[in-house]
């Protein structure tokens, strides 16, 4: 390596993201968003002016205009109420609380399962089928049971939303458990040899080698889990009869869809935004935690 290249290496600051790159990325997001909105409106225009009815009739009910949807956010959904946007904002905070608690709970449980399983092939063989089976049961079938079982046991402050958090955790733990296990197993065998030469205990190997090796895997699971926890929270609200969250709002606006479709659309957009916020938070946490060669970040 030349002197200049060595000096350049020495100069290089880790994780320095130039402002220009950040701007480019933001621009890409905006352009894609604009393109998607454009395509939606274009499709709508072509189908309605041509009178095509396949695959479905395009009208103000099936595909309300984007601006109608956005406008609905500034309108009260019912007389003498704040704007729909304000209401949805508060509802999304409620759902986000359920999802965040569920996400945290699921992540901790999933991580713990991964740590237990990596130490015993027998346990892995025995338990993995059930862990997989747990996810093949539709969440809608489980949710009412969880509400009935969990809710009565919860203290007053957790009543209602606590059981929804448990449902969100049910969706969250699985990807975290599976990926934690894989990540812990991904430790370089030569690094494991190295730790043996230090006569390192299991515990030391776990914390100094296996857990750091697993981080890229864990974080890619957390990204999946972050959005899953929001879905879990929304679905969990349905059988709980909770009206304070987005799930309640979706159930409600569903009934009025033929009259005011824009309200359900607006609610869906807010729900998607909550999911995106969750995702972005996890990505930011990953950036802060995982110090790894760029090509090794899963």
């Amino acid at each position: 390596m030349s002197q200049a290249a060595t000096a350049a290496l020495a100069q290089r600051r880790p994780l320095h993201v130039p402002v220009a790159a950040a701007l480019r990325r933001a621009a890409a997001v905006v352009i894609v968003l604009a393109a998607l909105v454009g395509l939606y409106e274009l499709y709508r225009w072509i189908w309605s002016s041509a009178g095509w009815t396949h695959p479905f009739v395009v009208d103000d009910t099936s595909m309300p205009h984007v601006w109608v949807i956005l406008h609905a956010l500034w309108q009260p959904a019912q007389v003498n109420q704040p704007a729909l946007g304000t209401i949805l904002f508060h509802k999304s905070l409620f759902t986000a609380k359920e999802a965040a608690v569920g996400f945290g709970l699921g992540a901790v449980i999933g991580f713990a399962i991964g740590i237990v399983l990596v130490h015993s092939r027998l346990l892995t063989r025995g338990f993995l089928p059930y862990i997989v089976a747990s996810q093949t049961i539709p969440i809608l079938a489980i949710a009412p049971m969880v509400v009935v079982w969990v809710n009565p046991k919860l203290p007053a402050s957790l009543q209602g939303w606590g059981s929804v958090a448990v449902i969100a955790a049910y969706l969250t733990f699985f990807p975290v458990a599976i990926n934690t296990l894989r990540g812990l197993q991904s430790a370089d065998p030569r690094a494991l040899d190295l730790m043996r030469t230090y006569a390192a205990s299991r515990w030391t190997v776990l914390w100094k080698l296996r857990v750091p090796s697993s981080m890229p895997f864990v974080f890619s699971a957390l990204r999946v889990a972050a959005t899953a926890s929001v879905v879990g929270a929304i679905i969990g609200e349905l059988p709980s009869g909770l009206q304070s969250g987005l799930g309640g709002a979706i159930l409600n606006f569903n009934q009025y869809y033929s009259i005011e479709p824009q309200e359900l659309w607006a609610t869906n957009i807010v729900a998607a935004l909550v999911g995106i916020v969750f995702f972005v938070v996890v990505v930011a946490a990953e950036k802060a935690v995982v110090r790894r060669a760029p090509e090794n970040v899963a």
């Binding site: 020495a10 030569r190 043996r196 030469t197 230090y198 750091p212 790894r292 060669a293």
Partner: protein, 271 residues
């Protein structure tokens, strides 16, 4: 520090290692003793068990038969007592740790306090000439630099024995020769015993005080060549006639590996 130093740092007696899968005899009847401060290279074609032999000394592989004694203890006790440092073909650095923290890893496991660790890491960085790269992450370093970090890590807790498994095998020729020089000067400074696995004849001759030539399947010692090149050795050592003679001797031993060599013949060749 040690009041009664054992005569040999490593004693290998009648060692045989077979791997049950495929019924492969990797090593057969190996007898080898290493004196304190020796630099011994194990050389042989791939599959001759030289890496296995190193791993048996390090208690990473259990012998099927025979005994291995390190610093007067069993290999297991020696490993538990952290009697040796090891360097692999790849640096095996932890990506998530800086250079400093990689070198400090064994010191952390030994329970050294922070200040002591920092002092030692600084010394080691100086030794391997990486001062200024303390806060870099491994992926920001070249292969040669990474291997130097790995050597610093192996030497950080001053083990009496250093095991090196083809440490420069993955590097380009120029980097390799420079690191050979650096390793020699480190060894001359520290006086530790080194077991060095390689398949480069010139590297083995240049570095070692003794070269153990091994034959493949089953891995046996085909002969041992004493390297009487004077110390300190430098770039010019590689140009001395004696260097070429020794290289030829090792090459002859390697060439005869496949054929059935009687012990007397091997001994004659080693003369």
């Amino acid at each position: 520090m040690s009041q009664q130093q054992p005569e040999h740092v490593v004693e290998i007696a009648n060692l045989t290692k077979t791997f049950p899968r495929g019924n492969i005899t990797a090593l057969e009847n190996i007898d080898l003793n290493l004196r304190p401060g020796e630099f011994v290279s194990l050389i042989g074609p791939s599959g001759c068990g030289k890496s296995t032999l190193l791993r048996v000394i390090g208690d990473l592989v259990e012998p099927t038969q025979g005994t291995v004694t390190v610093n007067g203890k069993t290999a297991r006790q020696a490993r538990a007592g952290r009697d040796y440092g090891i360097v692999f073909q790849d640096a095996v650095l932890f990506d998530w740790r800086t250079v400093t923290k990689n070198i400090a890893l064994p010191l952390e496991l030994l329970g050294w306090d922070r200040a002591k660790r920092r002092r030692r890491v600084e010394e080691m960085l100086e030794l391997v000439e990486l001062t200024g790269f303390a806060d870099h992450h491994p992926w920001q370093l070249s292969g040669g630099m990474q291997q130097r970090v790995s050597i610093a890590r192996a030497l950080a807790f001053e083990p009496a024995l250093l095991l090196m498994d083809e440490p420069f095998g993955a590097l380009d020729e120029m980097t390799r020769e420079r690191l050979n020089l650096e390793l020699l000067s480190i060894w001359e400074k520290l006086g530790s015993t080194v077991v060095f696995v390689t398949h480069s004849i010139s590297e083995a001759v240049f570095l070692s005080t003794r070269v153990v030539v091994m034959s493949p399947r089953p891995g046996r010692i085909a002969g041992i060549v004493d390297i009487d090149l004077p110390h300190p050795r430098g770039v010019e050592t590689r140009e001395e006639p004696r260097f070429f003679e020794l290289v030829t001797q090792v090459r002859e031993l390697l060439r005869l590996r496949g054929e059935h060599l009687l012990p007397e013949e091997a001994a004659a060749l080693s003369e």
